[in-house]
Structure formats: structure tokens, C-alpha cells
């Protein structure tokens, strides 16, 4: 009985002394040693590097045929840029041969407009979307969840377009496809 009792007291006193020691060290030497220990401790626990994508991109797949009978296709000489107000055009794709393009959507507006030029013929694509911010993580911050409402386009080269998956978030999955564009 006495050994059990004294074991309790010992365990408790050791813990109390440990706490008291930390308080004492903090009070006496707020500088070098404890800060170093704390930094070491915190750096071991938290990870401050964001290794996740925080920019949401729309995946457009090029197709031939119809929605029920669609086949992948590679289009040559594709140039794509977004129509940005008050900014110079910046090419997203420059004369590329692609079967799939990634388009960043505008987080500040309810629609994004792109020009797609193929063999000197241009089509304008307009995508209407609702924007909803969400937290990825406390290290990566916020990203935008886009809900695609509608898609409009001119029909010089493009025959039609279909929304396959209306939710566009920052996490880009391997086989993710949001829009099919038919030629």
C-alpha cells in the first residue's frame, strides 16, 4: 500500500517539477536556449510548406463524333488565350498539338472568356460560373470552387460543347474532365 501511494506521489511530483522547470527556465532565460528548443519542437510538429495546388483549372477534352459516340482527337496548331480586361493577351497555348487543355477560370468574375485559334480560324468560348471559396488547408490557404453554369461558343471550328462535370476545384485528378469540345 505504501509503495503504491508513494509511486503516485512520485509520478505526480515528477510531472509537476517538469512543468515548474519549464516555467523557471522561461522566466530566467527567455532568450536563446528555450526559444531554440521551442523552434525545434514546433518545426518537428508543423509543416509549413504547401505541396498542394491552390489554383483551380478547367479540363477541356477535344472530341470528334457525338456525345453518345465520342472519340478522343488530337488537334494541331492550337493557340489559346483568355480575354482579360485591361491586360495584354497572354498565350496559354501557342501552336500546340493537344488533345486536352487546362484553362484557369477567373476567380474575380462570374464568367471567363477565351479565344481558341486553330489554323487561322478563331472561336470565342464563354464559360459562366458561380464561385465559392473553400479552405484547402491552413498552410495552403483558400482556393476557389467553380460551379459551371453554362458554356457558349462561336462555331467557326468548334461544332458543339458539353459540360461533363460542373464542379471545378483546385485538386486536379488524373482522369478529370469537365468539358468536351467537339470538332
Amino acid at each position: 500500500m505504501i509503495t503504491l501511494t508513494s509511486t503516485f506521489i512520485h509520478i505526480n511530483l515528477i510531472l509537476l517539477l517538469a512543468v515548474a522547470f519549464i516555467i523557471f527556465v522561461q522566466a530566467m532565460k527567455p532568450g536563446l536556449l528555450t526559444n531554440l528548443l521551442l523552434v525545434l519542437l514546433i518545426s518537428c510538429v508543423t509543416q509549413d510548406i504547401c505541396d498542394e495546388d491552390n489554383q483551380s483549372e478547367l479540363v477541356v477534352k477535344f472530341k470528334t463524333g457525338s456525345l453518345t459516340n465520342a472519340a478522343d482527337t488530337i488537334i494541331a496548331d492550337v493557340t489559346v488565350y483568355g480575354i482579360r480586361e485591361g491586360k495584354t493577351d497572354s498565350l496559354l497555348y501557342d501552336a500546340a498539338s493537344v488533345s486536352r487543355i487546362l484553362l484557369p477560370l477567373d476567380p474575380g468574375h462570374g464568367a471567363s472568356h477565351f479565344v481558341c485559334r486553330i489554323n487561322d480560324q478563331s472561336d470565342t468560348i464563354g464559360i459562366g460560373h458561380d464561385n465559392e471559396a473553400y479552405l484547402i488547408s491552413y498552410t495552403c490557404g483558400f482556393a476557389m470552387m467553380f460551379h459551371i453554369r453554362e458554356i457558349h461558343h462561336t462555331t467557326h471550328v468548334i461544332s458543339h460543347a458539353e459540360v461533363i462535370e460542373s464542379q471545378v476545384d483546385a485538386e486536379l485528378l488524373k482522369d478529370e474532365e469537365h468539358i468536351w469540345i467537339f470538332f
Binding site: 500500500m1 503504491l4 501511494t5 503516485f8 506521489i9 509520478i11 505526480n12 510531472l15 509537476l16 512543468v19 519549464i22 516555467i23 522561461q26 528555450t34 521551442l38 519542437l41 509549413d48 504547401c50 491552390n54 489554383q55 483568355g82 482579360r84 491586360k87 497572354s90 496559354l92 484557369p104 477560370l105 477567373d106 476567380p107 474575380g108 471567363s112 465559392e132 471559396a133 473553400y134 479552405l135 488547408s137 491552413y138 498552410t139 495552403c140 490557404g141 483558400f142 482556393a143 476557389m144
Partner: protein, 226 residues
């Protein structure tokens, strides 16, 4: 004067009666001196935030009593806040919480003349808090970064705890002890848009399971002697 005398008499009788009652108790070693009453305590581990995470502030009080042999119903209540928890944006979360539950004393009966305890217990926790985020920037290399309005929500968190600990009676009615807790968050989806960095009383809302540690300093108010 007369009143005073009568009062004195009454209290005299009362203490005499009490003495008789105490003496009438069968002698059971130290157990005859055992006291019962509510125990109030503070959690010293909450001050640990000053050293481990200065962004946090916390305070916690507890109240328990052995209402039935070995069974201690417990109420724990406190306040907890964090500010500056976000990396690239401003963040703050703060609120009150309470835990209700009971501890069961596992210490064998022959040890009970001294009031140490080893307990296992369960708790239900509830937290009423609010959190907010500001200076939120949605990055876009192509369209330009977009700054959002500040965001805030009032939330309620629910969780369960399994608690185990040890308490030692250092001096008469003064207890020191610790407990470890395993926590299970019941509603991790309380805010799907912004998972709270801190659910007061529970911990980071980003984890559906958590651990906790408390260091109790308690005083038992000796209301009843037995």
C-alpha cells in the same frame, strides 16, 4: 443578550451531537476521518499554451463529487481561443466549452482510506464558438489574385472523450493529478467551407481524433465527515 446565549447553546448542542455521531461510528482505521464533498479544480496544463503555442489562450475549471462509492460525476468548463492560426490569411477562433461525464475509481478497496485515485471515465463535450478569416486571397497567376470579403461563422462542436488519470491527495483535501484524453469529434463537418483551426475544448477541427492532457489542482470542500 438572551438571544446570544440561546444561539450559543444551540451551537453547543449541535457540535456535541456531531461529536457523539462521530464517536458512534465504528472504528475503521483512517476511514473514520474520511470527508466527502464537492471538489473544485483548475487545469494547470492550460497555462502550458504560454510555452507550447502562444497564439492560444485557455482556462479550465472542474467540479466533481463522489456521489456514490467510486463514481464521480464531473463537469468541466472553460474558455479557449487562437489568433493568427492561418498561414497566408488572418484567422481567429474563440469560445466557451463544457464537458459532462463521470469518472470511475479503479483503485482497489483496501487503498481507499487514503483518497488517491486511478480513474477511467467518459465525457461528452460541447463547444459554442465563433471563428473568422480575413485577408483571404485566391491566387490566380493568369487572371490576377482575388481578395475575398472576410468570413465568419458561429459554430457548435460536439465530441466524446475517454479519460484516464491519477489523483493524489497531497495535503488534507488538496489534490494534484493528471489525466490523458482520447477525443472523438462527432461533427467534423460543422463548417465544410472552412474547417476550424480550433474547436475550443477539443483541439484542431482538422482532426477527427485527438489527444488531450490535463494537470489538475483540486480542493475538496469537506462538507461531510464520515
Amino acid at each position: 443578550m438572551l438571544n446570544c446565549l440561546r444561539m450559543k447553546n444551540i451551537s453547543g448542542y449541535f457540535s456535541e451531537l456531531l461529536l457523539l455521531l462521530l464517536l458512534a461510528q465504528p472504528a475503521r482505521g483512517q476511514d473514520t476521518l474520511r470527508t466527502y464533498g464537492p471538489r473544485i479544480g483548475i487545469d494547470l496544463a492550460r497555462f502550458g499554451y504560454l510555452f507550447t503555442d502562444p497564439r492560444q489562450v485557455g482556462a479550465e475549471f472542474s467540479l466533481d463529487a463522489e456521489i456514490y462509492p467510486d463514481i464521480y460525476p464531473v463537469v468541466e468548463a472553460g474558455y479557449n481561443s487562437i489568433s493568427g492560426g492561418g498561414g497566408s490569411f488572418d484567422y481567429a477562433s474563440s469560445g466557451m466549452y463544457a464537458r459532462l461525464g463521470a469518472d470511475y475509481n479503479l483503485l482497489p478497496a483496501k487503498e481507499k482510506s487514503i483518497h488517491h485515485s486511478i480513474t477511467a471515465g467518459i465525457r461528452y463535450g460541447v463547444s459554442f464558438f465563433s471563428h473568422r478569416a480575413g485577408r483571404i486571397v485566391i491566387q490566380s497567376d493568369y487572371w490576377g489574385d482575388y481578395m475575398l470579403d472576410s468570413y465568419s461563422r458561429k459554430l457548435t462542436g460536439h465530441w466524446l472523450e475517454l479519460a484516464g488519470g491519477v489523483k493524489t491527495e497531497l495535503a488534507a483535501n488538496l489534490f494534484l493529478g493528471w489525466s490523458v484524453r482520447y477525443k472523438i469529434l462527432i461533427n467534423p463537418e460543422m463548417d465544410p467551407q472552412v474547417t476550424p483551426r480550433l474547436v475550443p475544448g477539443y483541439g484542431p477541427g482538422t482532426g477527427q481524433r485527438g489527444f488531450g492532457f490535463s494537470y489538475h489542482l483540486m480542493y475538496k470542500i469537506p462538507l461531510l465527515k464520515k
